[in-house]
């Protein structure tokens, strides 16, 4: 991370932190205010529904009171009291229920058995124990229906006026989804009825259109709380993951005549409006904060730029120097600490440039000396035989012609040989100086290995050297000049053969090593000392009696031209192991 970035980050964190703290404070405060308002609204609604609920009970009781004093029922009661056949009134309850707009109605005889039932006509003759609540206010009752379902309603029990023995009427109005829809609730408020039919919470018992079971499940905690405690339970319910769908819910337990919770009325007041206002305020706060942060960032950028620009110039200049540009300079515009630093830097680079120039001169001289030494060494070896031969020829002039001729012939041969030797030395130096530019093509590194091992296999056999060529089964495609690579590998193989005059094992392998094709040539010869390893690739360095010291230099040159690397290490058999890594072609890429 750059200095400028650090500065920028530090400034930004500071500003954002301050803005966030302010925004959080505003948001929390606003939310609390709105939630308080929302709770108050829900509480008012719950109270209103409670009143509405009580009113419905009163209406039911009033309807039954009217019915109990009606002529029709008094006549029926009279006829029954005088031995009338109860069976005649099988359908009376249904008719009366319709007339008095009741959902449920039963006529019950003095023996407690149903005479007529509107909601379940087939239950005539079965007992209706609830008649013991005759005359009491309306109460909640769970009623079974013919289809096996159960409904809950507000019921009242009355005895028909003047009937002796009494004829009871048990009537009620269902409390179901349709009823709930008639409750006067404001928009955004839903009233659900959970019927307490099972010990465990069952989403299917919701009597109002809680659309999905998962939505119904969201109310589970509240409903369970109300069922268990028998008291109102309230809280925020999240039917979906979206906050604007959340509701303030109040679960009101509805109890039957025996005090048991028959149902739970759930009043849910949508928090959408509140959440949206909150979101609106938050959006404004975020907008302001965002702009503030942006402005702060811009300012931070400017400030950071002003602070860090000279240091960056210094860093750039230092980088240039590191890259070899000894003439890099820093312009000085200030006179503060940074200006002093820049001036010092400029002075330092000037001194470094001067020292480098001196070092180059020194190395150049050393190089020429080395070249001269090598040339002298190389040329000295053939020159000595030449000198001896010429002296022999000179001395041979004194010999008889026949002997002279023999000496002359031998000498001439020696001269020619040594001259050839000299020419070879010169050619090698010439070759090294004019290494050709690689003509690359896509080849399989394994082919290159096979080619060179095939070439030298007879010679190796002759020298009792075992050849091992372990290779990957997959092609190792590289971009290379096959001739140059062959030449390099040949050099390595020849070096290895030279290193094993008494025979041994030559291992030439080709394998993938990461992104590279690794070719290694290992011998089981005497091996190399660490010093030899270090200087091995230096031109004109050789450990052999008659080497020019250019072979491995050529190999390194070839490898370098192919963007590869070469290294030497101690082999597994104690000999030397040359390792060439050449970059593999990416799949689908050809040279």
């Amino acid at each position: 991370m750059t200095l400028r970035q650090k500065l920028l980050l530090m400034f930004s964190i500071t500003v954002v932190g301050i803005v966030a703290a302010v925004a959080w404070t505003v948001s929390v405060r606003v939310r609390r205010v709105f939630e308080e308002m929302d709770r108050e609204q829900t509480a008012a609604l719950v109270n209103q529904l409670q009143r509405e609920f009580d009113q419905r009970g009163s209406d039911t009781a009033a309807a039954l009171d009217r019915m109990a004093s009606s002529d029709a029922l008094r006549r029926i009661a009279f006829e029954l009291a005088n031995g009338g056949d109860a069976a005649r009134y099988l359908t009376v309850a249904a008719t009366l229920a319709q007339e008095y707009q009741l959902d449920d109605l039963e006529l019950v005889g003095n023996d407690g058995n149903i005479i007529s039932s509107a909601q379940w006509p087939a239950r005539f003759g079965y007992p209706e124990p609830v008649i013991f609540s005759a005359g009491k206010p309306a109460f909640l009752k769970q009623e079974q229906l013919p289809d096996g379902s159960e409904e809950i309603g507000t019921f009242a029990v009355r005895s028909v006026s003047g009937s002796s023995p009494p004829l009871y009427i048990v009537g009620g109005r269902a409390l179901d989804a349709a009823t709930l829809r008639t409750f006067p609730v404001p928009a955004g408020t839903q009233v659900y009825l959970y019927r307490n039919l099972t010990a465990e919470f069952d989403p299917g018992n919701f009597g109002a259109p809680v659309q999905a079971v998962s939505s119904a499940t969201a109310y589970r905690q509240l409903v369970d709380q109300a069922r268990a405690s028998g008291q109102n339970a309230e809280g925020v319910v999240y039917p979906t993951l979206r906050r604007q769908d959340s509701v303030n819910a109040t679960a009101i337990p509805l109890k039957g005549a025996n005090g048991g919770v028959l149902a739970v009325l759930v009043v849910s007041n949508s928090r959408r409006g509140m959440v949206e206002v909150q979101n609106h305020i938050r959006a404004i706060a975020y907008g302001v904060a965002g702009i503030g942060i942006l402005f702060a960032v811009v300012m931070s950028l400017w400030i950071a730029a002003r602070v860090s620009r000279p240091i960056e110039q210094l860093a750039r200049a230092a980088s240039q120097v590191a890259a070899g540009d000894w003439h890099a300079r820093v312009e000085i515009h200030t006179r503060d600490e940074v200006g002093v630093l820049a001036e010092t830097f400029n002075h330092m680079t000037e001194q470094l440039a001067e020292q480098r120039e001196r070092l180059v001169q020194s190395e150049r001289v050393a190089a020429w000396r080395e070249l001269a030494r090598r040339l002298a060494h190389e040329l000295k070896n053939p020159l000595f035989p030449l000198q001896i031969t010429v002296e022999n020829m000179t001395r041979a002039r004194a010999l008889p012609p026949q002997e002279f001729d023999e000496v002359f012939a031998e000498s001439a041969a020696t001269l020619r040989a040594e001259i050839e030797n000299l020419k070879a030395i010169i050619a090698r130096f010439s070759d090294f100086s004019k290494m050709p530019k690689p003509q690359v093509e896509t080849i399989d590194a394994r082919d290159a290995v096979r080619r060179v091992t095939a070439l030298y296999e007879p010679a190796l056999r002759e020298k009792r050297i075992n050849l091992r060529v372990p290779m990957d089964k997959e092609p190792l495609l590289i971009s290379a000049d096959p001739e140059l690579l062959h030449r390099a590998l040949s050099n390595l193989v020849l070096n290895a053969m030279d290193a094993m005059p008494e025979g041994g094992t030559l291992t030439v392998s080709a394998a993938q090593q990461g992104d590279a094709a690794r070719i290694s040539v290992a011998d089981s010869g005497a091996g190399l000392t660490p010093e030899e390893c270090e200087r091995l690739f230096t031109p004109y360095y050789t450990t052999k009696q008659h080497g020019t010291g250019l072979g491995l230099a050529i190999v390194q040159s070839v490898v370098a031209d192919h963007h590869g690397t070469i290294a030497v290490e101690r082999g597994e058999n104690g000999g030397a192991r040359f390792v060439i890594d050449l970059p593999l072609l990416a799949a689908g890429v050809t040279a």
Binding site: D85, A87, R88, L90, W120, A122, R123, G125, G148
Partner: protein
């Protein structure tokens, strides 16, 4: 007996009688079929066969070969004479037509009691049966064995006292057949208004828009209170619970438990308002004389014992599509079975269920033929070995001991008749014999 005795005036000719029914005019066993089509035989009030399109018959080969002599000079409504070939074609095709409630439930055709019907002469038809069939003449009085033919236009032609004149506005109009072999009916025409609710029918009767309307048995008392003129038939419809002997009821003991759990008295006393008769028999008491031998008592304790303590697996129950009363009765039976420990779930009317509450109509009026008919309609394969009451009782007892059918009530059919209708009688099948009715002229 005639509804309005003909002593007041002899029947007047002319006029259009309007009758309203809940069902379809052309359904099997329907009124219109009996007015338009004839059968080879008719039933007397005592249930014996009497001549109709056949004037005589005889049996040979131990009641397995029946020779029917056709009435001469009978003509179809299009004027073509009735031939033995027409009879053979009609009887043969009858075997492919489902009968009664089986048709409504999509059940397969009920097999005819014969294995061959062929022409034996210009006016002679021979029917051979695979087993002795002493009640064949009575069986042939059923409407499914009506004789008809299709004319060139595909119209169904009969030989009955009325012919089809048209269908419009929900009313099937039948016109008098002047050349009817039974004599021209007194009425000029009959209009049958179909698919009319009972309340609408009664309203129409009260305002003179209908002359004959239906009265469900459970409303007979109400009709009497309203001082309607009523014709009531003998018990002709059996209310029965059929049990599918598979699944929960594969065990006969479970079926017996269900049979013992039903409370016929509440059905009779309350739902059907004391109309008809309580029964546990496939034949009504007035017909068999021995129905009381089948106990109608409820034995809930024994039902619970037979059912045992096995966990109650849900059993479905449905009623024939026939209106609210049948559904109410089914719900009551479900309550009865609940008391015995069965878990009964009501299914929509007409849905194939483990328990079906059915109304099975009885066409026949002689004990043997009636038992044959009921066994067939209820899918029982018991053979009646003999014609005496004891043989009938044995066959019936064998059938009922399977507990796949639990007879509950025998119900009559009833009709309310307007003031201007005279001489209306009910046939042994419970249908108004409109051909013999007339409309009163102002006097």
């Amino acid at each position: 007996m005639a509804l309005a005795a003909s002593a007041r005036t002899r029947p007047h000719y002319g006029g259009t009688l309007r009758i309203e029914i809940q069902g379809d005019a052309w359904a099997p066993d329907s009124l219109a079929r009996r007015l338009v089509l004839n059968t080879l035989t008719d039933l007397s009030d005592s249930g014996t066969a009497q001549p109709a399109l056949a004037i005589a018959w005889s049996a040979q080969n131990n009641d397995q070969r029946w020779d029917f002599q056709l009435r001469p000079q009978v003509r179809f409504h299009d004027g073509t004479p009735l031939t033995a070939e027409d009879v053979v074609v009609s009887l043969t095709s009858a075997c492919a037509v489902p009968m009664g409630s089986a048709a409504a439930s999509g059940a397969p055709a009920v097999a005819c009691p014969w294995n061959a019907v062929y022409v034996a002469g210009p006016s002679e038809v021979v029917i051979t049966t695979p087993a002795p069939q002493p009640d064949l003449p009575e069986l042939l009085a059923q409407t499914r064995f009506s004789v008809s033919k299709q004319d060139d236009t595909g119209q169904l032609e009969g030989t009955g006292p009325f012919r089809v004149a048209g269908f419009s506005g929900g009313a099937l109009t039948l016109a008098a057949n002047d050349d009817c072999w039974q004599g021209r009916p007194f009425l000029d025409s009959v209009e049958i208004f179909t698919h009319r609710a009972i309340r609408d029918q009664w309203l129409d009767l009260s305002v003179g828009r209908a002359d004959v309307v239906q009265i469900p048995p459970e409303m007979l008392g109400q009709a009497q209170q309203q001082h309607l003129d009523i014709l009531v038939s003998q018990p002709l419809d059996l209310l029965a619970l059929t049990l599918d002997a598979q699944g929960s009821f594969a065990d006969p003991a479970m079926r017996q438990a269900a049979a013992l759990a039903v409370d016929r008295a509440s059905l009779y006393n309350v739902i059907f308002q004391k109309q008809g008769e309580i029964t546990a028999s496939l034949l009504p008491e007035p017909l068999s004389g021995y129905s009381f031998l089948f106990s109608t008592d409820r034995d809930l304790m024994r039902a619970r014992t037979l059912r045992g303590g096995a966990p109650a697996r849900p059993i479905t129950m449905s009623a024939d599509p026939g209106g609210g009363t049948l559904q109410l009765a089914a719900e009551r039976l479900a309550l009865n079975l609940d008391e015995a420990g069965f878990a009964v779930q009501m299914a929509p009317p007409g849905t194939p269920s483990t328990l079906d509450l059915r109304i099975v109509h009885l066409d026949e009026a002689s004990p043997l033929a009636a038992l044959d008919e009921m066994l067939t309609r209820l899918g029982q394969t018991v053979t009646v070995n003999g014609t005496d009451p004891h043989a009938l009782w044995l066959a019936e007892r064998t059938a009922l001991q399977n507990y796949t059918v639990v007879p509950l009530l025998w119900l009559p059919r009833a009709w309310a008749v307007g003031e201007r209708v005279r001489d209306l009688r009910l046939s042994p099948h419970g249908e108004p014999q409109l051909a013999d009715a007339s409309l009163e002229a102002a006097r």
